[in-house]
């Protein structure tokens, strides 16, 4: 029997420590995904906690039709989209402009240039529509296959590919702008 399945069974049998073990196993991928999605630690921390509370309540009904990691990332995506909906925050101006803004003056130092590129990438990722952002974060930073992303986002593989490709083309435009500055 797989480790996750054993832990889920133990949890269902009333062993609370099994849930703690699941949290320890998956807290890092969940947090890192949420951190990339939200762009800040505070929201990512709150959402990570929310994800595991939802998981605690839902684990009794977990059917095992997908991997536990996939299920948790689906909860994380939904929590993130709900959070965004609740906040109804406009995009930070800096982020919203990242894809189209004229480049600022380039710094001569190579490290500074790299840091600037990282900042632009973060801003450009934040400027993506939430589902595109989720798809591209899962693909690029989560190492997820398209089939898994489709399960997480509850859509077809074709839709996922279209979202990832569209997001990547926007990100490439943002990076080319940085390159031209240099």
């Amino acid at each position: 029997m797989e480790e996750d399945e054993r832990l889920v069974r133990a949890f269902r049998a009333g062993e609370e420590s099994a849930f703690a073990a699941l949290v320890i196993k998956y807290r890092e991928p969940v947090y890192r995904f949420l951190r990339r999605m939200t762009g800040n630690h505070e929201d990512a921390a709150d959402l990570t906690q929310e994800v595991f509370l939802r998981a605690y309540r839902g684990l009794g009904q977990f059917q095992g039709r997908c991997r536990l990691r996939t299920w948790l990332l689906r909860i994380a995506t939904n929590a993130c989209l709900d959070h965004r909906e609740r906040q109804r925050q406009p995009l930070p101006l800096e982020a919203a402009a990242a894809l189209t803004a004229p480049p600022e003056a380039a710094e001569p130092d190579a490290l500074a240039e790299r840091r600037e590129r990282w900042r632009r990438v973060r801003d450009a990722v934040q400027a993506l529509p939430p589902r595109q952002r989720a798809a591209v974060v899962l693909r690029l930073y989560g190492g997820c296959a398209y089939t898994e992303i489709a399960e997480i986002l509850d859509c077809s593989e074709g839709t996922v590919k279209a979202a990832v490709f569209s997001a990547l083309r926007k990100l490439r435009r943002a990076l080319e702008a940085v390159k031209e500055e240099g």
Binding site: V23, R117, Y146, L168
Partner: protein, 147 residues
């Protein structure tokens, strides 16, 4: 650049540059890239873009965050656990009351003729509500599952 990439390979180039693809498709792409300068340029361009995107460092986790998360979760889950245990206990108690009242209701009255039985009409009137309450408690926290 050697012109536009071939439409049949444009998406596959992007797919392969970002992660694993079907091995058959990958072999097909590799064979195509050997003979197509435009697609090879597109492939190199995407590999560079993806490398830049991936070089952004993993966000750092503040010291002590994992312990704090575990403690916060432990507290919240503990509270929920107590609520769930209380709900189960309440359900059991309600069912006991229901069974007891039903037994008394079914049993023949021992009082003298004309005197009220063990279960008064007022208590009998309450039985459906007790049953409903038991069902509601029995539902426990199921209604809170909202992922």
């Amino acid at each position: 650049m050697g012109g536009d990439p071939c439409p049949g390979y444009r998406d596959l180039v992007l797919e392969a540059a970002t992660g694993p693809v079907d091995p058959v498709l990958l072999r097909d792409l590799e064979a195509h890239l050997e003979g197509c300068e435009a697609c090879r340029a597109e492939w190199e361009s995407w590999r560079q873009v993806v490398a830049w995107l991936r070089e952004v460092p993993e966000p750092s986790v503040p010291p002590g965050f994992w312990d704090e998360l575990q403690a916060r979760l432990g507290r919240q889950v503990g509270q929920r656990g107590r609520r769930a245990r209380w709900a189960r206990a309440a359900k059991a108690a309600a069912l006991s009351v229901l069974v007891a009242l039903t037994v008394h209701q079914a049993a023949p009255s021992r009082g003298p003729v004309g005197e009220p039985g063990v279960v008064s009409p007022a208590v009998r009137a309450l039985l459906p509500q007790v049953s409903q309450l038991a069902q509601a408690w029995g539902a426990g926290l199921d209604g809170e599952v909202d992922w």
